[in-house]
Symmetry: C2
Subunit: 412 residues, 2 copies
């Protein structure tokens, strides 16, 4: 495969951005940090080179604008986030911004204007590392920013308001609660992002169209049995809370497999009293359930709750089911997904449609406009890890798909 | 049921001993503490009242001697421990010493001497609360004391040697390694102890004869799978270490039920990374396996290790089996168990024979002489807990059984 210089440029730029970190030996780039300042400067220079006018908004998002062929045209938003988790990889977020800029750069190199303006957005915070409040950047754009968050403090006691001010923004609650655009000024928001999962690799494909961002529940299940001496209570007289918990863990696995596309995970286990010579009296499990169809997710929840009660009842162990949080699925706009699929097919790949189990800025942006997402294969499905890796070949495919998508959108 | 005043006395004495604690609101009586000094003083006074000569040995054990009817007779040892765990109950340990004294007191009241001397031992440490080294008292008596332990420090930095010295003992390593008696000077060691389990209660019986103190293994099992994003890795592509661990927990339960008398317990679970939105990559479990027959225990271990490997292999999750420690079962002397059974039947109860899943001073004393143990029912099988409870009726049965046992032994 031969490819334009831009894919290599995108890879190099991701390398450069990966060098801006708040920690010496690993990539950690929180909201409104010195490393984010360096990143915004670098990205601004690349936006300028791609023929865009650049500004940083009140919350610290970087926005590059490439005008339309005619005045009064709508705007297409492209973008992703520029912050990272702790000990991050280089591509989660920045890759989407770099591919957006690369596409504009190719248009600019050919002195081409489209019937809509393009804005490339580099969001100031998606991961929520510094304030444990995710999507600060896209919420400020979509007008869904919660001004209460301005009082949150980081580990050094600095409030979000102070951090925004120091970063050169303006922590004005009214401004941060106001959407940057009216819905009818916008065409759509389209985000390119690494898959952060193994499906593309397993399917041997470079890219996929995202059908929806999955809805999610976080649940706590507590089994209460009877603690006892590991040496003196016969097996037949036990009410071991961990055995109930173990049955439930396997019921979650089996249950999830019964709903195509559902993922359900027990990620945390706490055993009380937690001594090697004491029968567990209480076990607390976390449960994370996700699906792109809210009715399927709710049905799975009901079934798993019922299983927890059955398992407990059979063992004379109480089962307590506590729903901590939930949010609905966010569908991608079908006509945009269709255009992305068409773009993928036109450059010679089969279309794979995937739901996103992870949250993305696109979910927030769906409050403002139609959304579309393109996933790029990442090695081993690994993300939030320095081993995060994409190939220059796949990046080239993603650029070509996004280019073709812009073209198809222009023809509508 | 009517009964001698002694059972009430035993209950009252357990209450009194339960008031001597190093902590104001709960019973915590570590080795060589001020509370142990008070306990030894109180118990010494009761030993004196029962016609015994009393001494405290080099490690702090309290020893009361009731002479035989003739000179040169052997000695029968009775006893248990006087220390406690943290936040303890009143009966684990002291009950056995109080019942021994009560039996001697009844002999003394009738001016009766037996053809053997009786020594009632109140061991200075069985629980190992202060130095995390259990059986200090009985080891010093049996001559199996490890002099290295003298250098252990408590949470205040006080060495065991200093503690013994302050308590009025003599931390002389040679003396502590020398058995107090020659084997041929002794008849046996017999210990009365609460069951610390629910079998007597479930069987509706006051006492049981102990057949053996179970052998035990402590094992660590580690399953290593693949961590991943809880939202992006489909169920079919997961290698969830916790699912493997859960299968194993249930395999332990099922496996243990396949070996009558075996108890096997997973009491600790550690999940890595342990976040609600991350598929567990590694799970570490503790496993405690006990049985009175070493060959059964070893067979169970082999079977469970095999199951761990099978479970791991089926999931492409590695299984690491690490044997941390093990000790063999200690059988009670059959002829003594037979005498105890006969005593129980003669006072009108059916005999129940139980193995002890918990360790006891008797196991240490088996290095020195034949051992026998009598279990007393405790409410709900609860021990190591302030809710530990026995009835005065059951205590009276235990005193009568021990009295009858002394009588039967006298006739041999």
């Amino acid at each position: 495969m031969t490819f334009d210089v831009s894919a290599r440029t995108v890879m190099e730029r991701c390398d450069i951005l990966g060098s801006y970190s708040e920690e010496p030996d690993r990539l950690t780039r929180p909201f409104a940090s010195q490393a984010m300042r360096q990143v915004n400067e670098a990205v601004a220079s690349w936006m300028h080179a791609a023929g865009m006018t650049v500004q940083q908004d009140k919350v610290g998002n970087l926005i590059g604008r490439y005008e339309a062929s005619q005045a009064g045209a709508k705007t297409l938003l492209l973008g992703s986030h520029l912050d990272t988790v702790r000990d991050a990889g280089k591509y989660d977020g920045p890759l989407g911004v770099m591919i957006a800029i690369a596409c504009v750069e190719r248009l600019y190199a050919q002195r081409e204007r489209l019937p809509f303006a393009i804005e490339a957005l580099g969001f100031a915070d998606e991961e929520g590392l510094r304030y444990h409040s995710a999507y600060i950047g896209s919420r400020a754009v979509a007008g869904t920013f919660d001004p209460e968050a301005l009082h949150l403090t980081d580990s050094d006691g600095i409030t979000m308001a102070e951090a925004i001010h120091t970063f050169g923004g303006d922590p004005d609650p009214r401004a941060l609660q106001t959407a940057r655009w009216h819905r009818d000024e916008l065409l759509a928001y389209c985000e390119v992002h690494i898959e952060q999962g193994p499906v593309l690799e397993a399917s041997n494909l470079p890219v996929a169209v995202v059908s929806a961002i999955a809805g999610q529940n976080r649940i706590t299940i507590r089994f209460r049995g009877e603690a006892g001496h590991a040496g003196t209570v016969p097996m037949s007289l036990r009410h071991d809370a961990l055995c109930a918990g173990a049955e439930f863990v396997l019921a979650v696995e089996t249950g999830a497999r019964g709903f195509p596309g559902l993922v359900a995970t027990v990620g945390q286990v706490s055993v009380q009293p937690g001594a090697s010579n004491v029968i567990p009296g209480q076990v607390t499990l976390s449960l994370d359930v996700r699906h792109q169809d809210d009715t399927v997710r709710e049905q799975a929840n009901r079934q798993l709750e019922e299983r927890a009660r059955e398992i407990g009842a059979a063992r004379h162990v109480s089962a307590d089911w506590q729903m901590l949080q939930g949010h609905c699925a966010v569908p991608c706009a079908p006509h945009l997904a269709e255009l992305l699929s068409q773009a993928i097919e036109e450059i010679g790949y089969p279309t794979l449609s995937l739901s996103s189990g992870a949250g993305h800025d696109a979910a927030t942006m769906s409050e403002l406009t139609d959304i579309a997402m393109l996933f790029v294969r990442c090695r081993g499905g690994i993300s939030h890890n320095p081993a995060e890796s994409v190939t220059v070949e796949d990046v080239e495919v993603a650029i070509q798909v996004l280019e073709r998508f812009l073209l198809l959108l222009s023809k509508e």
